[in-house]
Amino acid sequence: MDDEQWDLPPVTFRFPVEWGKCREFALALLDDDPARPETDEALSPSELPMPAIMPTCAFRYSPDNMPPSARLVARGLVDRTHMLQGGLEFDFHRPVVSGEELTATDRLVRVHDKETAKGTLRFLEFETAFRSADGLPVCTIRTTNIERKG
């Protein structure tokens, strides 16, 4: 494996936490409608809690509108048809509500191969770190994609 080919620069972009997107996500995840006023008395009518997995769609606000793994596909480094999502890990440093604007930074943190009885599996580990307007960490997501190399 040529290490230099995996030396991708981090991508940083704005991630506005939109009220409508929070509501759309909650409803798509079969939650009660979060816009009902009785749902959370601590929030104002203009605020909705950000669903936990919503930051995974932050790539829609990135310059190239693609998740980190797709950048590798676009460079011909990974075959999407042989790639599976292995796992996800979220760290929440504090809750986020609609109306905030976060800064997201995507980066590829590790690539390693594992030999198995069915062939080589390549593990691609990505991290997206979200910070508030004052630069403090808000949320970190680590994603593992697995590519079957045959």
Partner: protein, 148 residues
Amino acid sequence: MAEEQSAPPRLRIEDLQVGSSMPDRRVGPITQEHLIRFAGAGGDFNRFHYDAEFVRSRGFENIFAQGLFTAGILGQTLTSWAGPDLLRKLKVRFAEPVWLGDTLTISATVTRAYTTEAGPLWADLDCVVTSSGGRQVLTGSATVGAAI
């Protein structure tokens, strides 16, 4: 859309102890409408989640749900129970596909309860999403805890 679901009652974190469980939540049966609605929200229009002919051409028996859909339902269930301000960590591993028609049961059990500098009590939970026939489709862990 025939749908079976129930939200668990809100957590009192001071009541948590090892062995405590979040009330199980049942969701389903999962329909094509669910997956399309989630694709629109999240932007994942992979054909495995709506194009039956394509899916079968790739050797799968049926359309299956986005992994994030299942992870998201777990996340929403945890935050409905604990409150969005108490979820600190969530880790998931996708074990098996969720097929159209599956009904999911979302469960979580406390494995460790402890105090930290950040709050009066935090708790680690083992999480599992079980599908029709008892298949574990997602396993994971979560941490809930009050802020200072």
